[in-house]
Amino acid sequence: MNIPKLVLKNITRRKARFFFTLLGITVGIASFVTLLSLGGGLKNEIKKQASELGANLIVTPKGWCAYEQVSVLTGEQLPEAIPFDDARKISAIKGLTAVPYLTERTAIKNSPLPVIGILPEEMKIFKRWEIEKGDYFSSQDENAIVIGSGIAQQFKLNVLDKLTIKGRQFPVRGILKGTGSKDDIAMFMSLSVAQKLYGVGDKVSFVAVKVDDISKMDEYILKIQEAANVAVVSDKQLLRSVLSIVGTVSLTLQLIAAVAILAAAFGIINTMMTAIYERRREIGILQAIGAREITIFKIFLLESGFYGLLGGVIGIVAGLIFSSIASPYISQNEFTAFMKGSEMAVTFDSKLIIGSLLFSVFVSLISGLYPAWKASRLSPVEAISYE
């Protein structure tokens, strides 16, 4: 006989109670792991998207806060816009390439999708797009659309199929080769056609800027702001803003998971207190045959720690499975919709796994402290004297 063996024999005696207590900690840890790994996947994906933005600087309307700037990545529409004239002034600055574009929205079969108005030639060079099927725009104001490979796949669209956007029909002129970015899930039309279709006059949403000399970023920012009444944000700043927003969201989710784990901890305390009450006679027997207080304490602490270990392992496995099932659905959410372009990878990182397991064991050990202490302080005589 050894202590772990004794603990194992004790723990599974009340099968139902064992199961439900274990379920509590399992659910807590599973939700913790799910939220954490989804959050981790989200962050990686955002970094990837930002790196595929293809721009060093983004010109946005004046006075935008970080949250509004994030709409560059999310494709969310905001009413402010930049006059096309300003975009032209920015293009005129030496040492940089500037491409203005307009982000709007439409829907196919009730799925919201971005429609992006572009200067066809400029944008194609800027983004280094390649054509997978069909052709590209032949003129600056052609009444046609080019679609990303993701959309083509999802809605089984082919070249020359017709799509209705805002009541007007547009033939699919071509399908872009997959880029792994949100361009895969967007539809493109020429800027002037989009402006007319959506009635925004000569406004554009953003101007993407690529500079020739990255070391002179600050200089370019000043020059752009002199040329037009706009705000400029670098891709790095943008990334930082998005990550901090995502961070806040995932912190909130983690707090919710923490509450679930806290509830599970009370479940463990409750189970242990009940077990000790039921087994006070046994505790007395153990003491009579020579168990020290510290040994009784260890036995019960191990028992509650075992809930954390087993609940942690099951919870982590369940959490990872759940997060890989859930991630495609999560990316249909408004805030994360822009990530649908590529399969969001769930992060199966070992730090998360080991960390969650340690956390689970830690929580259950803490929960076991008080019950185990109570058990070790029981008086043996009362427990064993009566049947």
């Binding site: 006989m1 050894n2 202590i3 004794l6 024999k9 004790n10 005696r13 006679r281 046994e282 007395g284 027997i285 153990l286 003491q287 009579a288 045959i289 020579g290 168990a291 020290r292 207080e293 510290i294 040994t295 008086s379 043996p380 005589v381 064993i384 004297s385 049947e387």
Partner: protein, 229 residues
């Protein structure tokens, strides 16, 4: 080594339950000789079990002292008392007090675990002891699968596991039919011959007759101090 293995001096034990104070022991002084077979008799509720618990260091006296091998055990910490119970004293109770979810063998092994015996030795010794008590067929039986007499023999095997010098038995046959009682008694007598100091609480006059010393307790006091015999 002195001939006296246990000595109590003016032991008083009171229990406070709510506002009521119960006097379980009202000043007990006695001496138990090494290797002896002693008996404690007396009516129910007069303090016999309490005296056993105090002599075995399972509880502390309200007043007075218990000496084991000449050393006052009232000064020992809880942990030292546990060590004493593990090594020097074996308890056997009226209600067997086996661990219900463990097999006969595991019950005996567990007692050895607490005194730091390694698992291999635990296994061998548990098997040996249970066989000695006629339970070689029941090593892996749970207490619920055993008769009262068998359970009490497992309890005796457990009490013997750490080779204690002293065996404290509180009505060990009180819950047994006469056949099982004879069987258990037989084992107890053998143990005494093998050199164990045995103190037994019993209502059975026949057992008392076999004892070298008989202490009779009434109302927490000794009526018969054992030396009369």
């Amino acid at each position: 080594m002195s001939d006296i293995i246990i000595k109590t001096e003016n032991l008083v034990k009171t229990y406070n339950t709510g506002k009521v104070r119960t006097y379980a022991l009202r000043g007990i002084s006695l001496e138990i000789a090494r290797n002896s077979f002693s008996c404690i008799i007396g009516p129910s509720g007069h303090g016999k079990s309490t005296l056993m618990h105090l002599m075995g260091g399972l509880d502390g006296p309200t007043e007075g002292s218990v000496f084991i091998d000449g050393a006052d055990i009232s000064g020992l910490s809880n942990s030292e008392l546990a060590g004493l119970r593990a090594k020097k004293i074996g308890f056997v109770f009226q209600f067997f007090n086996l661990l219900q979810n463990l097999t006969a063998k595991e019950n005996v092994e567990t007692a050895m675990m607490f005194s730091g015996v390694n698992e291999k030795t635990q296994k061998e010794k548990a098997k040996g002891l249970l066989s000695l008590l006629g339970l070689s067929e029941k090593l892996n039986a749970k207490p619920s699968e055993l008769s009262g007499g068998q359970q009490q023999r497992v309890a005796i095997a457990r009490a013997l596991a750490n080779d204690p010098e002293i065996l404290l038995m509180d009505e060990p046959t009180g819950n047994l039919d006469s056949e099982s009682e004879a069987e258990v008694l037989d084992n107890i007598l053998k143990l005494n011959k093998d050199g164990k100091t045995i103190i037994i609480v019993t209502h059975n006059r026949d057992i008392a007759k076999m004892a070298a010393m008989v202490f009779e307790i009434r109302d927490g006091r000794l009526v018969d101090d054992g030396k009369t015999k």
